[in-house]
Subunit: 334 residues, 2 copies
């Protein structure tokens, strides 16, 4: 923060009052063409820039929105955030990105800080189930993304994970009836939806038995060990190829690596389906078949809704919850 030339100085230099300068700047109220030119000239010459802190204070509007993201290192999140940021920027808002590191405490702390910086709105990616209005000023516009909040008054946008899992499962099922699902340790709401899609599809298609592995969080090496054991058990003596639905691309990629290690032929003996279409999906060999989330649409919906709320409009009943369709990307592992 530094000493800069203020509107007062500009007023002085152009021989008018601050009010007039303000009116010229915002093109608001009455002033003559002559003064306009004069003031603008002085502004240009002195490289004047509005002090938005003062403006925010006076106007009760900061043109800043906060965005809470659990881990900006995750490609899906960073992608989504990047697009949201771009959309909001085009509407004149800047974005404070806060990395909550999946910590409830940090999330709360950030909410406080953002609140005190008087953001005009908030986007929350993958907040905790417990995320609700209680800790927020009631009139602060909020949009949740990816993980739906317990508080159903908060608008929500997320991919249709259930439908994605159904598509994935149907696709695998067309190739083999010997299926397995591999999940992460911690379950998010999106994760559960994917599991539900898988299980319900099997139920519907009357496939009764399927393998299941929960990979506990750890180093890549750890995870591979767990997968190795599972794969060895699972592939043992089965005549049909195994089709595995991995709940994320990293999981899928690790499965693929282990398969190579065990000299299991992919996709002949083992078919792998990922989820997300993260960058690694394209750099595996063979490349991963996966379900792609539409980050562009997701971001568009989220930022559009937030803008709407910040403009004081209300969301229609059917706008509160929005499911974004996903897409099956068939590549080498199936």
């Amino acid at each position: 923060m530094n000493k800069k030339i203020s509107i007062k100085k500009i007023a002085e230099l152009s021989g008018v009052s601050v009010a007039t300068v303000s009116r010229v700047i915002n093109n608001n109220g009455r002033f003559s063409e002559e003064t306009r030119k004069k003031v603008l000239k002085v502004i240009r010459e002195n490289n004047y820039q509005t002090n938005n802190v003062a403006k925010s204070l006076r106007m009760h509007k900061s043109y800043t929105v906060g965005i809470l993201v659990p881990d900006i290192t995750n490609p899906f999140f960073s992608n989504t955030v990047q697009i949201i940021e771009k959309n909001l920027f085009e509407k004149g808002y800047s974005t404070i990105i806060c990395n909550t590191a999946r910590s409830r405490d940090k999330e709360l702390e950030y909410v406080k800080i953002l609140e005190s910086k008087i953001v005009d709105g908030l986007i929350v990616i993958s907040g905790f189930k417990t995320f609700d209005r209680k800790n927020l000023p009631d009139d602060l516009p909020v949009i949740c993304i990816d993980r739906s909040p317990a508080d159903s008054t908060i608008a929500f946008v997320g991919s249709d994970h259930y439908e994605g899992a159904v598509m994935a499962t149907e696709f695998l099922l067309a190739e083999t009836e010997n299926l397995a699902i591999v999940k992460h340790d911690e379950q998010s709401s999106s994760g559960s939806e994917r599991v539900r899609g898988f299980e319900e599809t099997l139920f519907k298609e009357k496939v009764e038995k399927f393998g299941s592995l929960i990979v506990s969080n750890g180093s890549q090496n750890d995870q591979q060990k767990q997968i190795k054991k599972f794969l060895q058990d699972e592939m043992n003596g089965s005549k049909q190829p195994l089709g595995v639905f991995a709940l994320s691309d990293t999981l899928a990629a690790n499965i693929l690596l282990v398969a190579h290690d065990l000299s299991i032929k992919v996709p002949k003996q083992l078919k792998i389906m990922g989820f997300d279409d993260s960058p690694i999906a394209s750099y595996c060999s063979p490349q991963l078949t996966t379900i792609r989330q539409n980050e562009i649409l997701l971001a568009k919906e989220a930022s559009g809704k937030l803008i709407k709320l910040m403009n004081g409009e209300n969301l229609a009943r059917d706008e509160i919850v929005k499911k974004i369709p996903v897409q099956l990307i068939v590549r080498g592992t199936t």
Copy 2:
């Protein structure tokens, strides 16, 4: 932004003046223990939060720093940014992350916005060569990262790309004298350093001939086509294995994929060295040998220096430019 309870209200409710409330809040100036308790109680009961916009205005200090990043989707950047954000947060600063999308215009526009929001400092990742003080208030603390600015008065922190390339080249050279380098289209300062490290090492070791490919930006498929042609030419009739130094991990990963496609054995016939140790490096098969940048140290240096500057301290002469050592990670492709 919304109507919230202000210090005035708190003063009223506790029967003291705003000045006293402020003094209690900031634990600054004189007040009795009794008033302290009383005021704090009212504050708690009414869930009062300081309005930091007003505070910033009055104090000329916003406890906010801006960070310009060319592409938050890039794992190296997002990692670095994430750590910087964490470091600054611990010191009480929040961070506005701005995605400049590698556009000079957007960069300038963001600088203006940040300036008008009166940030206390600025971190610029990979700005343009032309980035300099001219467009900035002279007393705004700035740190550049990764790509060194033309303006040598701006402090800079970056990996030792030159040394990394030397290590990479020496390592490849120990296995084969038949080398090639594969680079990206657009050259950054870090890219040039890597090239220089490669070439000077070859010169020093008296290796005179080496292959070279510039992959022009395009889809993954496009890039692979260019690589395929190059690899076919290069591998044709050579008895020695080919060692290629790819200037990034994505390049390396694509080379690996093409090699599989052409049934070239890695690392027997072809040895591949990447750069960055990005996530995909660990998900290739075999996993990429690569040079890892130390994002933690990088971020620590950058945020530390910025804090120092924001505290009004000066940087010692030898602190202006800081090179962070890199590390050779030997894995499956060599």
